[in-house]
Symmetry: C2
Subunit: 344 residues, 2 copies
């Protein structure tokens, strides 16, 4: 999504301005800080679609009434290793980080914890929460369902969201192993980029209004699940896993039933979005020291694996952490609308 119209700004200044904007829109300090933390994760690792560009959208939703400006989270411990958090319709990031912290607190004692979130809203990049757990030494899985955008295998309507599955694991003396993946091959904003560039899409990533695969970005009405035309039943099943944990297990909204995140006039009512976080303490399985050695051996083998001519083997997260280093050094690129909104 890089282009000449972007400007690069220092991360700390970007973070302060996003926080100021959210608090000016009425968000409580705690919920605004959570949103900025998650957006900055995304912006720093290069997932601009889930980064600070969302500040303006969240401000609009805080103003419109969809988002509760001053949410009071309710954490209900439902059993020894499980909890439900009521997000009180605030910024989803606030509830999602609370789910990670609750999960860690529980898993320290029980070995594993499952935390469902209800009455929440858009949480940004699910990877932010998986990383938050891994940075404290816990294997963490975070997922959410989202607005319907992706067809079923051989389907002809938007059914699942791009439903992310995010896993992270601690690595001694390094940043976490991190897999934060949409269960579609590409996000919808990739289609928009191809439209603006007048370039064809890859095969098997998107479909027209009849569900027929197309590479013409102007004809795209829905995305195809990961696996494309032949193996998309796998991607569709994985999107269903996100819905299973995030919506069915928590009793929240199904992907096709969300009030649209964008567009539509309804910014008054909450969307009752659900999330799910699982936290595991390696100390209660093989033990933290042996787990540390095992993941180091694994990553050493992986990074030393034979590669294809012109290929490059990277562990999940390597690309993201490299981008973070680069952006921390050179500034975080933001688009013109976001620059204007944040007065850069």
């Amino acid at each position: 999504m890089h282009n000449d119209k972007q400007i690069a700004v220092p991360k700390d200044e970007l973070s302060s301005r996003a926080l100021a904007a959210l608090t000016a829109a009425g968000a409580s300090t705690a919920s605004a800080e959570a949103a900025v933390r998650a957006m900055m994760h995304a912006s720093r690792v290069g997932v601009d679609s889930h980064g600070v560009r969302l500040t303006e959208h969240y401000c609009n939703m805080l103003g419109g009434g969809r988002l509760n400006r001053n949410p009071k989270l309710q954490v209900r411990r439902t059993a020894a290793a499980s909890a439900m958090i009521d997000g009180n319709d605030g910024l989803g990031h606030y509830a999602a980080y609370a789910a990670v912290e609750t999960g860690i607190e529980i898993a320290r004692e029980t070995g594993i914890a499952g935390v469902g979130v209800e009455h929440s809203s858009h949480l940004g990049a699910a990877g932010a929460y998986a990383v938050a757990g891994a940075e404290q030494g816990f294997i963490t899985f975070a997922t959410t369902n989202t607005d319907a955008m992706v067809t079923l295998f051989e389907g002809a309507q938007r059914f699942h969201g791009t439903n992310p599955l995010a896993f992270a694991a601690p690595v001694p003396d390094r940043r976490p192993w991190l897999l934060d993946m949409a269960t579609s091959s590409i996000p919808m904003n990739r289609v928009l980029l191809h439209r603006s560039l007048e370039s064809a899409l890859p095969q098997g990533v998107a479909a027209d209004a009849k569900g027929e695969p197309t590479t013409d970005p102007h004809k795209v009405e829905m995305l195809l699940p990961l696996g494309g035309e032949e193996y998309g039943y796998k991607g569709a099943g994985l999107a269903g896993v996100a819905t299973l944990f995030s919506a069915l297990l928590t009793g929240t909204t199904l992907d096709p039933d969300f009030i649209p995140m964008y567009g539509g006039d309804n910014i008054k009512y909450p969307r009752n979005m659900g999330h799910f976080v699982m936290v595991i303490d390696p100390g209660k399985f093989v033990g933290a020291p042996l787990f540390g050695l095992a993941i180091q051996s694994y990553l050493t083998a992986l990074r030393g694996a034979q590669i294809r001519t012109d290929g490059r083997v990277m562990a999940p997260g390597d690309r993201e952490w490299e981008e973070m280093d680069r952006r921390d050094r050179e500034g975080v690129p933001i688009d013109p609308d976001t620059a204007k909104f944040l007065r850069f």
Copy 2:
């Protein structure tokens, strides 16, 4: 894999003969019954590669010493919601079903349970264990790592196994929602089938000795991860998730380090394979009745979704349960070698 040389046999007779063969090879009744239960799940739902054809292989390994004929499982509760099971190098199915039962017992109290398995062996189809939990009312995730067969994204060597991720969830009055997927697009035996048929493979599923994608089944030396040439980093990451939970968390063997399942002379030594099972009680989240209604609504919406011309939308598991009904009615097809071994 259907062909004219296959014969269809009644499931109960097939099951008895497989059990008789394993016990004749010295397997304890308990471990043999577990193996037959898992193999019959695979054979009935149509996953022949993991079905009763493995009986002969397991018998050889019981005879060779790789598999302990009379394993004594040790279940060690490591915390309130976590356990490790030592499979004592017996048939992996025995340890894996024990992991599900242990997980259920724990999750009934704690809401969620994580059970790692060490000193185990090949468990057949991971879906068998996910289904076992779902049939008792629990959302169940089961995974294992396996012999290296799949390259990394842009890699040029076998690194991960076809590492399955299996999820199942209870559905009121119906068989479970079931996703049992390899993290490669196809299994290696699909390549062998294409070799014998002299037919080209689909694009982006397999590679030659240099890791270059090929559709010529005779040139295939490794499989590509789900997502193919463009998005294979997602499939490779998911294969890593299986390794993370099954091997790194349990301290067992990494995919490239296994004594080969097939080939090689070494059938004396155990392979120390690991698995991981997670069990969730919906009763400790939204509640079992509301979960039941939610998954019914979801499946109704899914089955009623608009479809592509000539397409067919199915929920995960629908194809498998249809095949099970058909095979229960018409008999389970088995290949000539298996028919001979089981004296059909």
